[in-house]
């Protein structure tokens, strides 16, 4: 098969059942979507932030088990969470958690049949992004007030 010069050609590379390549149209996949548009970007972000939340749950388990284990274990956990790496990870986790929470509300609205119109979808998408930024800043103001 020749070298692909046009990006759309990528959607024409199929395989026969014996594995040999053949040029024929395939159903649209990642190649034909602009991943920076609100709809697809926020969609995959919901999945990614869900996975980040899952990793964040590991932090929560560690923190709780350490608190139950005693002061020494708790000090080790606190040392990590207040280290540079720990703070960066928690900051990212905070943003991911708020995004997943707010975009989850959007998904529940869709499940109820509301918000499918394109202008509404873009408006709620922007609201989720603004809300994520605002709540992340608010959360870390609480962190700073509690810490100092």
């Amino acid at each position: 098969m020749s070298i692909v010069k046009d990006g759309r050609e990528a959607t024409m590379i199929g395989h026969r059942s014996d594995g040999t390549a053949i040029r024929r149209p395939l159903s649209p996949h990642l190649q034909v979507y602009d991943m920076l548009q609100m709809s697809s970007a926020l969609s995959i972000s919901h999945r990614i932030t869900g996975v980040i939340w899952a990793i964040g749950l590991l932090f929560l388990v560690w923190w709780l088990v350490a608190a139950a284990a005693g002061p020494a274990a708790f000090a080790a956990a606190q040392w990590f969470f207040s280290s540079f790496l720990g703070v960066v990870l928690l900051l990212g986790l905070t943003a991911a958690a708020w995004f997943h929470t707010l975009n989850g509300v959007r998904h529940l609205a869709w499940d109820a049949g509301w918000g499918y119109e394109i202008p509404t979808m873009y408006r709620t998408g922007r609201a989720v992004l603004v809300g994520t930024a605002a709540l992340t800043v608010l959360t870390w103001i609480v962190v700073l007030v509690a810490f100092f």
């Binding site: 139950a68 905070t94 529940l108 509301w114």
Partner: protein, 140 residues
Amino acid sequence: MAKELAERTTLRSPLGRVRGLGASKSGAHHWWLMRVTSVALLPLSIWLIFALAGLAGASHAEAAAFVGRPVNAVLLLAFLAAAFHHTAYGVQVIIEDYVRSEWGRIGGILAVKGLCALLWLAASLAVLRLAVGGVPAAAG
């Protein structure tokens, strides 16, 4: 229009509806529990994020006392149950979407569910120890 469609459309076949089963035998149950846990997690997550933010830099005694307070312990246990259920189901969907080999898919899903169950039990036991057993700092 979209609202009417959502109200009228069902993804179940007539026979599946009669038997209470979809094509995958349990898809509607999975889908519904994902929504139920997400609704439960909405207020619980908001509470937990701000509660933990307020505990930044807390000493062991302060953190243990916070977790051990009955209202906090109950909300934490509820959060842990809903969160690990939601996580196990969510990661299951991701594995089903991206893992092509059947054994890899089944093995991956079972591993994730086992891990989620163990972590949920470990975290819940920690909360219960602090809530029922008292603060371990007093013992040493």
